[in-house]
Protein backbone atom coordinates (compact mmCIF):
# COMPACT_ATOMS: atom_id res chain seq x y z
CA UNK A 1 0.00 0.00 0.00
CA UNK A 2 1.44 3.35 -1.03
CA UNK A 3 1.35 6.28 1.38
CA UNK A 4 0.57 8.51 -1.55
CA UNK A 5 -0.01 8.05 -5.27
CA UNK A 6 0.64 11.14 -7.35
CA UNK A 7 -0.91 11.23 -10.80
CA UNK A 8 0.78 13.58 -13.24
CA UNK A 9 4.41 14.70 -13.53
CA UNK A 10 4.22 18.43 -14.20
CA UNK A 11 5.26 21.15 -11.75
CA UNK A 12 2.40 20.33 -9.32
CA UNK A 13 3.02 16.57 -9.24
CA UNK A 14 6.80 16.86 -9.03
CA UNK A 15 6.62 19.39 -6.20
CA UNK A 16 4.08 17.24 -4.35
CA UNK A 17 6.50 14.32 -4.66
CA UNK A 18 9.38 16.41 -3.35
CA UNK A 19 7.44 17.61 -0.32
CA UNK A 20 5.87 14.24 0.46
CA UNK A 21 9.17 12.34 0.42
CA UNK A 22 11.25 15.04 2.05
CA UNK A 23 8.49 15.29 4.66
CA UNK A 24 9.11 11.69 5.63
CA UNK A 25 6.70 9.57 3.59
CA UNK A 26 8.42 6.37 2.47
CA UNK A 27 6.15 5.01 -0.21
CA UNK A 28 5.30 7.69 -2.73
CA UNK A 29 5.02 6.95 -6.44
CA UNK A 30 4.32 9.35 -9.27
CA UNK A 31 2.47 7.92 -12.25
CA UNK A 32 2.89 9.55 -15.63
CA UNK A 33 2.97 7.75 -18.96
CA UNK A 34 4.44 10.69 -20.85
CA UNK A 35 7.43 12.94 -20.45
CA UNK A 36 7.89 14.60 -17.09
CA UNK A 37 7.87 18.37 -16.71
CA UNK A 38 4.41 19.27 -17.93
CA UNK A 39 3.27 21.80 -20.46
CA UNK A 40 6.03 24.30 -19.70
CA UNK A 41 8.50 21.95 -21.43
CA UNK A 42 6.92 23.02 -24.70
CA UNK A 43 7.41 26.69 -23.94
CA UNK A 44 10.19 28.69 -25.54
CA UNK A 45 10.75 30.83 -22.47
CA UNK A 46 9.98 31.23 -18.81
CA UNK A 47 10.24 34.73 -17.43
CA UNK A 48 7.94 34.70 -14.42
CA UNK A 49 9.34 32.03 -12.13
CA UNK A 50 11.19 33.91 -9.37
CA UNK A 51 14.82 32.88 -9.00
CA UNK A 52 15.15 31.77 -12.60
CA UNK A 53 15.79 34.64 -14.99
CA UNK A 54 17.65 33.51 -18.05
CA UNK A 55 16.16 34.25 -21.44
CA UNK A 56 18.49 31.82 -23.18
CA UNK A 57 16.80 28.89 -21.43
CA UNK A 58 13.63 27.17 -22.57
CA UNK A 59 10.87 25.65 -20.46
CA UNK A 60 12.49 22.26 -20.96
CA UNK A 61 15.87 23.44 -19.69
CA UNK A 62 14.08 24.84 -16.68
CA UNK A 63 12.26 21.60 -15.85
CA UNK A 64 15.30 19.35 -16.25
CA UNK A 65 16.76 20.61 -13.00
CA UNK A 66 13.46 19.92 -11.20
CA UNK A 67 13.66 16.23 -11.88
CA UNK A 68 16.99 15.73 -10.15
CA UNK A 69 15.76 17.59 -7.09
CA UNK A 70 12.28 16.11 -6.88
CA UNK A 71 13.52 12.52 -7.05
CA UNK A 72 16.35 13.08 -4.55
CA UNK A 73 14.36 12.05 -1.46
CA UNK A 74 12.89 8.73 -2.49
CA UNK A 75 10.09 9.61 -4.89
CA UNK A 76 9.53 6.87 -7.47
CA UNK A 77 8.22 7.27 -11.00
CA UNK A 78 6.33 4.68 -13.00
CA UNK A 79 5.49 5.05 -16.70
CA UNK A 80 1.88 4.00 -16.33
CA UNK A 81 -1.27 5.52 -17.68
CA UNK A 82 -3.92 5.87 -15.01
CA UNK A 83 -7.46 5.11 -16.14
CA UNK A 84 -9.28 6.06 -12.95
CA UNK A 85 -9.20 6.42 -9.20
CA UNK A 86 -11.61 4.64 -6.90
CA UNK A 87 -12.19 5.00 -3.17
CA UNK A 88 -12.39 1.67 -1.36
CA UNK A 89 -13.33 2.04 2.31
CA UNK A 90 -10.60 4.23 3.85
CA UNK A 91 -8.11 4.02 1.01
CA UNK A 92 -7.88 4.28 -2.76
CA UNK A 93 -7.40 2.04 -5.74
CA UNK A 94 -5.52 3.53 -8.68
CA UNK A 95 -6.52 1.59 -11.79
CA UNK A 96 -4.29 1.62 -14.87
CA UNK A 97 -5.35 1.42 -18.50
CA UNK A 98 -4.10 -2.18 -18.74
CA UNK A 99 -6.48 -3.21 -15.95
CA UNK A 100 -3.83 -3.52 -13.25
CA UNK A 101 -4.24 -1.56 -10.04
CA UNK A 102 -2.34 -0.46 -6.95
CA UNK A 103 -3.61 0.69 -3.57
CA UNK A 104 -2.76 3.94 -1.87
CA UNK A 105 -3.77 5.63 1.36
CA UNK A 106 -4.00 9.01 -0.37
CA UNK A 107 -4.03 10.32 -3.93
CA UNK A 108 -2.90 13.64 -5.34
CA UNK A 109 -4.25 14.22 -8.83
CA UNK A 110 -2.14 16.71 -10.80
CA UNK A 111 -3.01 15.81 -14.37
CA UNK A 112 -3.08 19.43 -15.49
CA UNK A 113 -4.49 20.57 -18.76
CA UNK A 114 -3.80 20.28 -22.47
CA UNK A 115 -4.00 22.88 -25.24
CA UNK A 116 -7.51 23.34 -26.50
CA UNK A 117 -8.42 22.87 -30.14
CA UNK A 118 -10.03 25.90 -31.71
CA UNK A 119 -12.56 23.91 -33.73
CA UNK A 120 -12.09 25.27 -37.26
CA UNK A 121 -12.38 23.14 -40.38
CA UNK A 122 -9.24 21.11 -41.10
CA UNK A 123 -7.75 21.53 -37.61
CA UNK A 124 -7.87 17.84 -36.70
CA UNK A 125 -7.04 16.69 -40.20
CA UNK A 126 -3.81 18.67 -40.34
CA UNK A 127 -2.83 18.45 -36.68
CA UNK A 128 0.85 17.48 -36.63
CA UNK A 129 0.98 18.08 -40.37
CA UNK A 130 1.18 21.85 -40.34
CA UNK A 131 -1.15 22.65 -37.46
CA UNK A 132 0.78 22.70 -34.20
CA UNK A 133 0.51 23.72 -30.55
CA UNK A 134 4.28 23.72 -29.96
CA UNK A 135 6.39 26.51 -31.46
CA UNK A 136 9.66 25.25 -29.99
CA UNK A 137 8.99 21.82 -31.52
CA UNK A 138 7.90 22.82 -34.98
CA UNK A 139 8.94 26.44 -35.59
CA UNK A 140 12.12 25.49 -37.37
CA UNK A 141 10.19 23.74 -40.12
CA UNK A 142 9.15 27.24 -41.18
CA UNK A 143 12.56 28.88 -41.21
CA UNK A 144 12.34 32.07 -43.31
CA UNK A 145 8.74 31.23 -44.18
CA UNK A 146 5.53 32.91 -43.01
CA UNK A 147 3.49 31.39 -40.18
CA UNK A 148 0.11 32.13 -38.65
CA UNK A 149 -0.58 32.10 -34.92
CA UNK A 150 -4.12 31.85 -33.57
CA UNK A 151 -4.85 33.33 -30.13
CA UNK A 152 -4.52 36.51 -28.10
CA UNK A 153 -3.25 35.48 -24.68
CA UNK A 154 0.20 35.31 -23.15
CA UNK A 155 1.12 31.99 -24.70
CA UNK A 156 0.06 33.08 -28.19
CA UNK A 157 2.13 36.27 -28.09
CA UNK A 158 5.15 34.72 -26.38
CA UNK A 159 5.28 32.00 -28.98
CA UNK A 160 4.65 34.52 -31.79
CA UNK A 161 7.74 36.37 -30.59
CA UNK A 162 9.75 33.15 -30.55
CA UNK A 163 8.59 32.36 -34.09
CA UNK A 164 9.39 35.89 -35.30
CA UNK A 165 13.09 35.15 -34.77
CA UNK A 166 12.91 32.13 -37.08
CA UNK A 167 10.19 32.83 -39.60
CA UNK A 168 9.92 35.56 -42.21
CA UNK A 169 6.57 36.87 -40.96
CA UNK A 170 4.22 35.98 -38.14
CA UNK A 171 0.52 36.74 -38.53
CA UNK A 172 -1.29 36.70 -35.19
CA UNK A 173 -5.01 36.13 -35.68
CA UNK A 174 -7.22 37.06 -32.73
CA UNK A 175 -11.00 37.08 -32.55
CA UNK A 176 -11.23 40.21 -30.37
CA UNK A 177 -9.88 43.71 -30.95
CA UNK A 178 -7.88 43.70 -27.72
CA UNK A 179 -5.28 41.25 -26.47
CA UNK A 180 -5.36 39.49 -23.10
CA UNK A 181 -1.58 39.06 -22.95
CA UNK A 182 0.42 40.81 -20.22
CA UNK A 183 1.50 44.37 -21.26
CA UNK A 184 5.26 43.61 -21.57
CA UNK A 185 4.55 40.60 -23.76
CA UNK A 186 2.18 42.55 -26.00
CA UNK A 187 4.55 45.55 -26.26
CA UNK A 188 7.42 43.34 -27.30
CA UNK A 189 5.32 41.67 -29.98
CA UNK A 190 4.04 45.00 -31.29
CA UNK A 191 7.55 46.38 -31.61
CA UNK A 192 8.67 43.45 -33.72
CA UNK A 193 8.47 44.45 -37.39
CA UNK A 194 7.67 41.03 -38.74
CA UNK A 195 4.80 40.34 -36.31
CA UNK A 196 1.47 41.43 -37.77
CA UNK A 197 -1.58 41.54 -35.51
CA UNK A 198 -4.86 40.70 -37.23
CA UNK A 199 -7.74 41.43 -34.87
CA UNK A 200 -11.48 40.69 -35.06
CA UNK A 201 -10.60 37.62 -37.09
CA UNK A 202 -10.81 33.86 -36.89
CA UNK A 203 -9.45 30.92 -38.87
CA UNK A 204 -12.21 29.88 -41.23
CA UNK A 205 -10.43 26.89 -42.66
CA UNK A 206 -7.10 25.11 -42.80
CA UNK A 207 -6.54 23.42 -46.15
CA UNK A 208 -3.97 21.19 -47.73
CA UNK A 209 -3.31 17.81 -49.27
CA UNK A 210 -1.44 14.57 -48.79
CA UNK A 211 1.72 16.35 -47.68
CA UNK A 212 -0.05 18.36 -45.02
CA UNK A 213 -1.23 21.91 -44.58
CA UNK A 214 -0.94 24.29 -47.53
CA UNK A 215 -2.55 27.38 -46.05
CA UNK A 216 -5.33 28.94 -44.04
CA UNK A 217 -8.31 31.14 -44.71
CA UNK A 218 -8.73 34.00 -42.27
CA UNK A 219 -12.17 35.51 -41.82
CA UNK A 220 -12.82 39.01 -40.48
CA UNK A 221 -15.77 38.67 -38.10
CA UNK A 222 -16.92 42.27 -38.70
CA UNK A 223 -16.92 42.26 -42.49
CA UNK A 224 -16.98 38.50 -43.25
CA UNK A 225 -14.09 39.16 -45.63
CA UNK A 226 -11.88 36.11 -46.25
CA UNK A 227 -8.12 36.44 -46.64
CA UNK A 228 -6.21 33.51 -48.08
CA UNK A 229 -2.86 32.92 -46.37
CA UNK A 230 -1.02 30.40 -48.50
CA UNK A 231 2.21 28.53 -47.67
CA UNK A 232 1.92 28.89 -43.95
CA UNK A 233 2.24 26.81 -40.81
CA UNK A 234 -0.44 27.37 -38.19
CA UNK A 235 0.19 27.50 -34.45
CA UNK A 236 -2.88 27.36 -32.22
CA UNK A 237 -2.86 28.81 -28.68
CA UNK A 238 -6.47 29.28 -27.63
CA UNK A 239 -6.49 28.15 -24.02
CA UNK A 240 -6.55 24.87 -22.17
CA UNK A 241 -8.83 21.97 -21.32
CA UNK A 242 -8.40 20.30 -17.94
CA UNK A 243 -7.55 16.59 -17.85
CA UNK A 244 -10.16 15.29 -15.43
CA UNK A 245 -10.70 11.83 -16.91
CA UNK A 246 -9.08 9.88 -14.06
CA UNK A 247 -11.70 11.26 -11.67
CA UNK A 248 -14.59 9.60 -13.49
CA UNK A 249 -15.96 6.30 -12.23
CA UNK A 250 -17.01 3.38 -14.39
CA UNK A 251 -20.32 5.05 -15.20
CA UNK A 252 -18.65 8.30 -16.19
CA UNK A 253 -19.71 10.16 -13.02
CA UNK A 254 -17.16 12.24 -11.15
CA UNK A 255 -16.01 10.86 -7.78
CA UNK A 256 -15.67 14.33 -6.27
CA UNK A 257 -17.31 17.71 -6.60
CA UNK A 258 -16.55 19.57 -9.83
CA UNK A 259 -17.58 22.95 -11.23
CA UNK A 260 -19.33 23.48 -14.56
CA UNK A 261 -16.01 23.81 -16.42
CA UNK A 262 -14.94 20.35 -15.27
CA UNK A 263 -12.46 21.71 -12.73
CA UNK A 264 -12.21 20.13 -9.28
CA UNK A 265 -13.61 22.03 -6.31
CA UNK A 266 -10.92 22.26 -3.62
CA UNK A 267 -10.42 24.25 -0.44
CA UNK A 268 -7.29 26.23 0.38
CA UNK A 269 -5.57 23.02 1.49
CA UNK A 270 -6.28 21.28 -1.83
CA UNK A 271 -8.82 18.95 -0.18
CA UNK A 272 -11.47 17.72 -2.58
CA UNK A 273 -14.94 16.67 -1.45
CA UNK A 274 -13.61 13.11 -1.10
CA UNK A 275 -11.46 12.56 2.00
CA UNK A 276 -7.89 11.58 1.21
CA UNK A 277 -8.13 12.80 -2.39
CA UNK A 278 -6.27 15.99 -3.22
CA UNK A 279 -5.95 17.96 -6.43
CA UNK A 280 -3.14 20.35 -7.38
CA UNK A 281 -2.35 22.58 -10.34
CA UNK A 282 -4.35 23.43 -13.45
CA UNK A 283 -7.05 20.88 -12.67
CA UNK A 284 -8.44 22.77 -9.67
CA UNK A 285 -10.97 25.60 -9.63
CA UNK A 286 -9.60 29.12 -10.14
CA UNK A 287 -6.19 27.80 -11.23
CA UNK A 288 -4.02 30.61 -12.61
CA UNK A 289 -2.26 28.03 -14.83
CA UNK A 290 1.22 29.16 -13.91
CA UNK A 291 4.22 27.00 -13.01
CA UNK A 292 4.81 28.84 -9.75
CA UNK A 293 1.22 28.39 -8.57
CA UNK A 294 1.08 24.74 -9.65
CA UNK A 295 4.24 24.11 -7.64
CA UNK A 296 2.68 25.92 -4.68
CA UNK A 297 -0.42 23.73 -4.94
CA UNK A 298 1.75 20.61 -5.03
CA UNK A 299 3.50 21.56 -1.81
CA UNK A 300 0.21 22.34 -0.06
CA UNK A 301 -1.35 19.05 -1.15
CA UNK A 302 1.67 17.03 -0.01
CA UNK A 303 1.81 18.73 3.39
CA UNK A 304 -1.90 18.06 3.76
CA UNK A 305 -1.36 14.40 2.86
CA UNK A 306 1.25 14.12 5.61
CA UNK A 307 -1.04 15.55 8.29
CA UNK A 308 -3.99 13.48 7.01
CA UNK A 309 -1.97 10.28 7.37
CA UNK A 310 -0.82 11.31 10.86
CA UNK A 311 -4.43 11.90 11.92
CA UNK A 312 -5.46 8.48 10.64
CA UNK A 313 -2.95 6.66 12.80
Amino acid sequence: MLDCAIIGGGPAGLTAGLYATRGGLQKVTLFDAGVLGGQITKSSEIENYPGFFDNTKTGLDFMESWQKQCFAFGLKHEYKKVARVEKVEEHFKVIFDNGEAIEAMTVIVATGSTPRRAGFKGEDEFFGKGVSTCATCDGFFYKDKPVTVLGGGDTALEEAFFLSNICSDVYVVHRRDEFKAAPPTLDRAMRKENIHLITNSVIDEAYGGMMGLDGVKIKNTQTDEITDMANTGLFVFVGLNVNNGVLKDENGDFICEMNEQGQVVVDLKMNTSLKGLFVAGDLRIDAPKQVVSAAGDGSIAALQVISYLQEMQ
Binding site: G34, G37, L60, C134
Partner: protein, 106 residues
Protein backbone atom coordinates in the same frame (compact mmCIF):
# COMPACT_ATOMS: atom_id res chain seq x y z
CA UNK B 1 25.44 -2.93 -26.46
CA UNK B 2 23.02 -2.37 -29.29
CA UNK B 3 22.73 1.15 -30.55
CA UNK B 4 20.22 2.88 -32.78
CA UNK B 5 21.07 3.46 -36.43
CA UNK B 6 21.56 6.99 -37.72
CA UNK B 7 19.81 7.20 -41.06
CA UNK B 8 20.83 9.44 -43.94
CA UNK B 9 19.79 9.79 -47.55
CA UNK B 10 22.34 7.07 -48.36
CA UNK B 11 21.13 4.28 -46.09
CA UNK B 12 17.47 5.11 -45.46
CA UNK B 13 15.75 3.04 -48.14
CA UNK B 14 18.03 0.04 -47.72
CA UNK B 15 17.54 0.01 -43.95
CA UNK B 16 13.75 0.15 -43.95
CA UNK B 17 13.41 -2.27 -46.89
CA UNK B 18 13.25 -5.42 -44.76
CA UNK B 19 11.71 -6.29 -41.41
CA UNK B 20 10.28 -3.92 -38.82
CA UNK B 21 11.88 -0.49 -38.43
CA UNK B 22 11.10 2.38 -36.10
CA UNK B 23 12.38 5.79 -37.21
CA UNK B 24 12.52 8.73 -34.82
CA UNK B 25 12.57 12.07 -36.70
CA UNK B 26 14.20 14.57 -34.36
CA UNK B 27 16.31 17.73 -34.16
CA UNK B 28 18.78 19.04 -31.60
CA UNK B 29 16.66 22.12 -30.82
CA UNK B 30 13.48 20.17 -30.08
CA UNK B 31 12.79 19.76 -26.36
CA UNK B 32 10.40 16.81 -26.47
CA UNK B 33 12.84 15.04 -28.83
CA UNK B 34 15.56 15.34 -26.20
CA UNK B 35 13.21 13.89 -23.63
CA UNK B 36 12.46 10.75 -25.64
CA UNK B 37 16.10 10.25 -26.68
CA UNK B 38 16.86 7.91 -23.73
CA UNK B 39 13.71 5.91 -24.54
CA UNK B 40 14.91 5.40 -28.12
CA UNK B 41 18.28 4.20 -26.84
CA UNK B 42 16.60 1.69 -24.53
CA UNK B 43 14.36 0.44 -27.34
CA UNK B 44 17.46 -0.15 -29.48
CA UNK B 45 18.73 -2.51 -26.79
CA UNK B 46 15.39 -4.16 -26.08
CA UNK B 47 14.68 -4.90 -29.73
CA UNK B 48 18.23 -5.84 -30.69
CA UNK B 49 17.99 -8.48 -33.44
CA UNK B 50 14.19 -8.15 -33.69
CA UNK B 51 13.53 -4.67 -35.05
CA UNK B 52 15.69 -1.82 -36.28
CA UNK B 53 15.56 1.34 -34.17
CA UNK B 54 16.69 4.39 -36.15
CA UNK B 55 16.93 8.14 -35.95
CA UNK B 56 16.80 10.85 -38.61
CA UNK B 57 18.18 14.29 -37.82
CA UNK B 58 15.64 16.49 -39.62
CA UNK B 59 18.09 19.42 -39.71
CA UNK B 60 20.64 17.45 -41.70
CA UNK B 61 18.36 15.12 -43.65
CA UNK B 62 15.79 17.51 -45.01
CA UNK B 63 15.08 15.44 -48.11
CA UNK B 64 13.89 12.45 -46.09
CA UNK B 65 11.80 14.72 -43.86
CA UNK B 66 10.15 16.32 -46.87
CA UNK B 67 9.53 12.93 -48.47
CA UNK B 68 7.57 11.76 -45.43
CA UNK B 69 5.86 15.11 -44.88
CA UNK B 70 7.40 15.66 -41.45
CA UNK B 71 6.13 18.99 -40.12
CA UNK B 72 5.99 18.25 -36.41
CA UNK B 73 8.61 16.52 -34.28
CA UNK B 74 9.27 14.25 -32.62
CA UNK B 75 7.57 12.11 -35.26
CA UNK B 76 8.04 8.37 -34.96
CA UNK B 77 7.33 6.33 -38.06
CA UNK B 78 7.01 2.55 -38.17
CA UNK B 79 7.87 0.61 -41.30
CA UNK B 80 7.36 -3.03 -42.23
CA UNK B 81 9.26 -4.33 -45.24
CA UNK B 82 9.67 -0.81 -46.56
CA UNK B 83 6.07 0.25 -46.12
CA UNK B 84 4.92 2.92 -43.70
CA UNK B 85 2.47 1.13 -41.36
CA UNK B 86 2.03 3.38 -38.34
CA UNK B 87 3.14 6.68 -36.81
CA UNK B 88 3.13 8.70 -33.62
CA UNK B 89 3.49 12.48 -33.56
CA UNK B 90 4.75 13.90 -30.27
CA UNK B 91 6.48 12.38 -27.27
CA UNK B 92 5.03 9.20 -25.81
CA UNK B 93 6.07 6.54 -23.33
CA UNK B 94 8.46 3.68 -23.96
CA UNK B 95 5.57 1.22 -23.64
CA UNK B 96 3.59 3.06 -26.30
CA UNK B 97 6.46 2.72 -28.79
CA UNK B 98 7.20 -0.88 -27.79
CA UNK B 99 3.54 -1.80 -28.32
CA UNK B 100 3.63 -0.38 -31.84
CA UNK B 101 6.79 -2.31 -32.68
CA UNK B 102 5.41 -5.54 -31.19
CA UNK B 103 2.21 -5.13 -33.16
CA UNK B 104 4.26 -5.23 -36.38
CA UNK B 105 6.43 -8.13 -35.19
CA UNK B 106 3.40 -10.25 -34.35
Amino acid sequence: MAKYIDLTQDNFDATIAEGVTMVDFWAPWCGPCRMIAPVVEELAEDFDGKAKICKVNTDEQQEISVKYGIRSIPAILFFKDGELVDQVVGAASKDAFADKINAQLA
